[in-house]
């Protein structure tokens, strides 16, 4: 190791930035170089003396009090914003909880008599899935219906119903309960305007007759 490099490493060692491997190399060099040992002693002494003796009493108490006040004001202002954000988050969480809770509640509702008497377990699972999807479609329909009240009335109901049908169709395709070639007749979606809850079961049985053969 050259002395020039050793001087740099001495400064890095003083600031605790030296890696162990380099520190070991430096120690090896210092053990055989008196000049570098002298440089190390002078450098570290100068730095520690400066740290100890350079004037640095600190600011007046008035300055510290102003800083304290600014810190308090910042906390108070930030607290108000934080509370507003919490209220918003709670509102979103409540809506989400309603949707998820409704989904769970409906999915655990007993199926009407005569519907799930098929001995095949896979068919029962499929019918449950169909029920779930129709529930989701209902929720989407309701949401869309409510949104429609606020949006521009230029979009007609037929287009909206078609959009919802397409969405429900896609959901069924994802579940493997419909093919991409299926026509609209095979995808039973509740009418948007009526939102009949009783149609859910009749729709489901209709689909069963087509799919669970």
């Amino acid at each position: 190791m050259e002395c020039e490099e050793a001087h740099c490493l001495i400064l890095l060692a003083d600031s605790s930035e030296l890696l162990p491997l380099k520190a070991a190399e430096l120690e090896t060099h210092l053990s055989s170089c008196a000049n570098c040992r002298l440089y190390r002693d002078i450098a570290t002494d100068l730095i520690s003396c400066a740290r100890k003796h350079l004037p640095a009493d600190g600011p007046d108490e008035v300055v510290l009090a102003r800083i304290r006040t600014a810190a308090q004001e910042q906390i108070s202002g930030a607290g108000l914003e934080f509370r507003h954000t919490i209220v918003q988050l709670l509102a979103y969480a409540a809506v989400l909880a309603l949707l998820v809770g409704g989904w769970f509640l409906l999915s655990t509702t007993k199926q009407p008599a005569g519907r799930d008497n098929h001995p095949d377990t896979a068919a029962s699972a499929k019918s449950e899935q169909i029920g779930h999807i129709n529930t989701i479609a209902n929720a989407l329909s309701e949401f869309s219906y409510n949104q429609e009240q606020e949006l521009n009335e230029q979009q007609n109901g037929a287009t909206k119903k078609q959009n919802i049908n397409e969405l429900a169709h896609q959901l069924l395709i994802l579940e493997g309960l419909a093919s991409e070639d299926a026509t609209d007749d095979e995808v039973i979606v509740p009418d948007v305007e009526l939102l009949p809850t009783d149609l859910r079961s009749s729709n489901t049985s209709g689909l069963l007759s087509k799919e669970c053969v």
Binding site: H7, C8, L11, L12, S15, S16, E17, I42, A43, D45, L46, I47, C49, A50, R51, H53, L54, P55, A56, D57, G58, P59, D60, V63, L64, R66, I67, R68, A70, A71, Q72, Q74, I75, A78, G79
Partner: protein, 191 residues
């Protein structure tokens, strides 16, 4: 009982505990104020800058994501000092005195108040401060950041926007000049 780290104190402050920030102010009062004071050599100005550093830190503390709080504070301080120097240049008062009785002319020229005065007649702090004052600006800055603000060379390089090797070289030049200036007193200072 172990002291809270800077990160812990910052988290506590963000949760609304003002005393956590007070602890940080107290912790860095001496190194930060010392750095500012020895850069400006004027108590009033140093206090103003110290206050401004903390105002800016408090304002931006929500966005602070680094792992070296003292480095961040020192960078803010350095920027304010440089801004003030640049802003004041047109109105710079050459006869304005600094706290150690020197005029700004003498400060700028790096001259001692009494060239004939023996170094050993001054107190240790003044001797070192005068010697540091004579250093070129970048070397003085590096030396004060290291000796007073206790920054690592990585942080010093970041603050000065240079490589670590450049920061180390500046420190070496500063030490060699200080050694010459304080040569006669070196044994006293070391003791």
């Amino acid at each position: 009982m172990m002291e809270d780290t800077d990160s812990q104190l910052l988290r506590r402050y963000k949760r609304g505990q003002v005393d956590a920030l007070e602890q940080l102010v107290e912790r860095y009062k001496r190194p930060l104020y010392g750095f500012i004071y020895n850069m400006t050599r004027c108590k009033e100005e140093a206090e103003e800058i110290f206050q401004e550093v903390w105002f800016r830190a408090i304002k931006n503390i929500a966005m602070y994501k680094e792992d070296n709080f003292s480095g961040w504070l020192t960078r803010i301080a350095r920027n304010i000092v440089i801004d003030r120097i640049r802003r004041r240049k047109p109105d710079f008062n050459l006869d304005q005195e600094t706290d150690d009785g020197r005029s700004m002319v003498q400060t700028l020229a790096g001259r001692d108040p009494n060239p004939g005065m023996l170094v050993e007649d001054m107190d240790t702090g003044t001797r070192i401060a005068n010697a540091v004052e004579k250093l070129p600006a970048e070397q003085k800055e590096v030396f004060l950041m290291r000796a007073q603000a206790d920054l690592s060379f990585k942080e010093i390089a970041r603050a000065q926007k240079v490589s670590i090797n450049t920061a180390l070289a500046r420190m070496q030049y500063a030490l060699s000049k200080l050694r010459i200036v304080l040569k006669r007193d070196y044994e006293d200072l070391a003791n």
